[in-house]
Symmetry: C2
Subunit: 137 residues, 2 copies
């Protein structure tokens, strides 16, 4: 099948399929006589795998590692789990950071009237140097 059909079936754009090939995440696709890339169902499965892992926030490098493990039928599940847990830890860290930022922002927004008056605790806080800034309890 053509690249656009593989794209439709896998949910990965043709642009990205070519890109993944160019960075060696995918093996070079088979070519027809006219030079067009030619894909089969197995290729679509790989693309769906990539799509799924990307949706779960793995980096392309991690996707590559997972693909290798996937292809190796004798891999120890330990390695897969380790990758997944490292990613979980990373997401948890980022969530925590975002939560802290959200707390701050909500607090600031709450105290801002948000009307025609120019007085604004948000800007006041943003302009306050770190050492001077004190969190309230």
């Amino acid at each position: 099948m053509n690249i656009s059909e593989a794209a439709d079936r896998s949910g990965v754009s043709a642009k990205m399929i070519r890109y993944y090939e160019s960075v060696a995440l995918l093996k070079p696709a088979a070519r027809r006589d006219n030079g067009y890339r030619d894909y089969g169902d197995a290729d679509v499965s790989v693309l769906q795998f990539i799509r799924r892992t990307r949706d779960l926030g793995f980096s392309l490098e991690e996707v590559g590692a997972l693909l290798t493990l996937w292809r190796d039928r004798k891999r120890p599940s330990r390695e897969v789990k380790r990758l997944a847990e490292a990613h979980i830890t990373d997401l948890e860290r980022r969530m925590k950071e975002t939560r802290a930022v959200l707390r701050t922002l909500r607090d600031l927004a709450q105290h801002c009237h948000g009307d025609e008056r120019s007085e604004c605790p948000i800007l006041d806080d943003l302009a306050t140097p770190p050492a001077t800034r004190r969190r309230k309890h």
Copy 2:
């Protein structure tokens, strides 16, 4: 003061200060006779403002808008609040997405033995096309 001192005092790297100037987030710095950029306390304050807003996850474009509002003493606080709330909404959406991903990943990792055995529900799930995949309740 030199750029590196302004960097130290503001927490913004010299590299970034030059970059912010190049994208017109900052007004061109004053220059000494030797061509060196020259900063004063007011400049450091601006840099700290930028550093703070960046830490709160605002994009450079948003930082620019906030800076403009900050400089305009007659701005309505409504505008500031609107920007802050838009950012909050954005962060909340991303948190929600990350939470969903985390739920999935934790669920998958939990069911993976993580030992020498090759059997691995994580890879099995990643390889499952969306239509076939069913969430458990």
